[in-house]
């Protein structure tokens, strides 16, 4: 410990002799470390944002859509006729053990009027299960109940965006709005969710009981009084997703009387998987950014090696003298290694500060959330030490194996 401190002192003194040169050499490491920290921060911020958005969608989600998708992605079949019904939803909930909840939905664009204000948005006919599956909570008021759905009650729950645009800051609960010329009473407002992973505003929505939506607003399929748009399904747990998918497929094929060898008239998609792919691509991006930034760290390391080689040449006589008075190979080696590592670690520490500042500025001005983890700071610190050892070793070794007589005689 004492030895380390005194070699650190010697190194600092040697570095002070050529302040400007040492500072410029460190600059390479400073830029490298700062770039790594800022870039990894930006990447982690993007990943975290996508994770948040995935969270906001709900977990373990499967969506069942009418019609089928062929292997090349072309949608086939139903010709606009919905093949899914509320009975399918009930059957899935009752007969598939891997399924926790099912919520039928019916979607359509609507114009909402309140007094002189009006707003175009997307209406969703749903049942109370929808709140469980989408993990919705109420900012004010209550969600409508199963009785409201059975009775076809004309009640509505607003998303935050809709509420803001029609009512400004005031609480709309109890007010009557006109949806497609039909009066609905507002019973509650949802807690805001923000953007979906696909960039949609999840709060620009009005939720209605699916029965009233079908009869009064969106207009379901006449062939099937209980037809629905999509089914939102929640599996019991993440590892039951595949099980739920196959159970539903089997059940729906049976209920729709599809012969073996014929295409499904519905499509099941694992939503979590779709968004996980986006998350992966964000992670790949952050790794790439980090890798590019690491290149500048390596360039900084080469700068250190260059300067240390110059320093060894300049101090040949000093090395010869130290050898003459008894410095062993490892003494000289460690002296120059400590010097290189001091250079790179100092650069690393300054680089960490610069990197933290840079990512704070990026969050502030670019409004792009960055997340600098303690781990990335520690890694940067460790990595800059490693750069010092790696690029300092060759010059230090060169110094340690100088011939003392020649070194002493060096002009």
């Amino acid at each position: 410990m004492n030895k380390l401190l005194s070699s650190l002192r010697i190194a600092l003194r040697a570095l002070r002799v050529n302040r400007a040169r040492s500072a410029l050499t460190m600059l390479g490491i400073i830029i490298g470390v700062a770039a790594v920290i800022a870039m990894v921060g930006v990447g982690a911020g993007a990943t975290a944002r996508i994770q948040d958005q995935i969270q906001s969608i709900g977990s373990n989600l499967i969506i069942v859509m009418p019609g089928s998708v062929s292997t090349n992605g072309v949608r086939l079949g139903s010709g606009g006729v919905s093949t899914l019904s509320e009975d399918d939803a009930k059957a899935i909930a009752a007969e598939c053990p891997a399924v926790a909840a099912v919520a039928p939905t019916l979607r359509g664009g609507v114009q909402i009027v309140f007094g002189s204000a009006n707003w175009a948005t997307s209406a969703q006919g749903v049942t109370p299960e929808y709140t469980t599956i989408r993990d919705l909570t109420m900012k004010s008021g209550q969600f409508f109940t199963d009785q409201d759905v059975d009775a076809g009650a004309k009640v509505a729950v607003l998303g935050e965006t809709v509420s803001q645009n029609l009512f400004g800051g005031t609480d709309p609960t109890g007010q009557v709005i006109i949806v497609k010329n039909v009066p609905f009473t507002v019973v509650g407002v949802l807690t805001p969710k923000g953007q979906s992973p696909t960039g949609q505003d999840q709060d620009d929505v009005i939720l209605l009981p699916i029965s009233s939506a079908r009869q009064k607003v969106i207009g379901g399929n006449r062939a099937n009084a209980k037809s629905v748009g999509n089914l939102m399904v929640q599996a019991v747990s993440p590892d039951q997703m595949e099980q739920a998918l196959s159970e539903m497929t089997t059940l729906l094929r049976e209920r729709h009387r599809i012969q073996p060898g014929h295409d499904d008239d519905f499509t099941v998609r694992n939503l979590t998987e779709v968004f996980a792919a986006q998350e992966t691509s964000a992670q790949v991006m952050s790794i790439l950014l980090g890798a590019i930034a690491s290149v500048s760290l390596i360039v900084g390391g080469i700068g250190i090696m260059n300067i240390m080689l110059v320093s060894v040449t300049e101090r040949t006589r000093e090395i010869g003298l130290r050898q003459a008075v008894g410095a062993r190979t490892r003494d000289i080696l460690s002296q120059f290694l400590v010097e290189a590592v001091t250079l790179s670690l100092l650069g690393g520490i300054i680089g960490i500060v610069v990197g933290l500042t840079a990512s704070a500025l990026i969050s502030y001005f670019a409004e792009w959330s960055t997340e600098v983890s303690l781990l990335s700071v520690l890694m940067a610190f460790l990595f800059s030490a490693l750069v010092g050892v790696f690029f300092g070793y060759y010059p230090a070794r060169k110094a340690a194996y100088l011939d003392p007589i020649e070194a002493l005689r060096y002009e």
Binding site: N2, S6, R13, V17, R317, E318, L321, R322, Q323, A324, V325, G326, A327, R328, T329, R330, D331, P404, I405, L408
Partner: protein
Amino acid sequence: MPAVIETTDLVRDFLLGEIPVHVLKGITFQLERGDFVAIMGPSGSGKSTLMNILGCLDKPTSGTYKLEGSGIGDLTRDQLAEIRNKKIGFVFQQFNLLARTSALENVELPLLYTDLPAKERRERALKALQAVGLGDRSEHQPSQLSGGQQQRVAIARAMVNNPKIILADEPTGALDSRTSLEIMAIFQRLNREDAITILLVTHDAHMASYANREIHFKDGRIESNEIIAKPRDAQADLAALPPEAVETVKEEVTA
């Protein structure tokens, strides 16, 4: 008790390209504890080459060199470094002090490569500086010292490890006659009081007269090796010098 230095038929050849240059052509001699030898001889006769071997900085092409009875022929680089650290002190013509480093730290340098604790290193370095009369200059850097003072710092550095031998290759070559005398006085004291064996290479016959043995070199061989029956006393000669010549140097430095 074995001789401090014992060489037998030392040969040192250098290769200049393909052609071997014979620099030392068979050197055999012995030195005992407390010997003070002046080595003289024409330029290029191999004096420095011999000093390098005796200082364990170089190895002979053939022949043996025993330091306190043990041969150094088979030692590794680091073992040689350890011997230099513990048994040998060097004094060079160009002083070879570390720039921008205080006199005290310069003297301490050999101790950095020992296991001594920092406090004891300081104390010993300070004592060595005091022994050469520079106790009050310990914080001065080489650029703030005169040539004679720098060489005294270098001697303090050479003696700080209590070496068996001190090798001084033309230590007064860059100094005027008065400061040279001061250096010789210090060598004589170290030699008499601490019984350190001193080898002094010099071109100045007057300096050689302070030693108690004189070896003459010629063309890689020892031409003569004789005891000086009555060496001069440097301290006495110094006292006999007119005083004014000295102070000019010292005044400048302290100012």
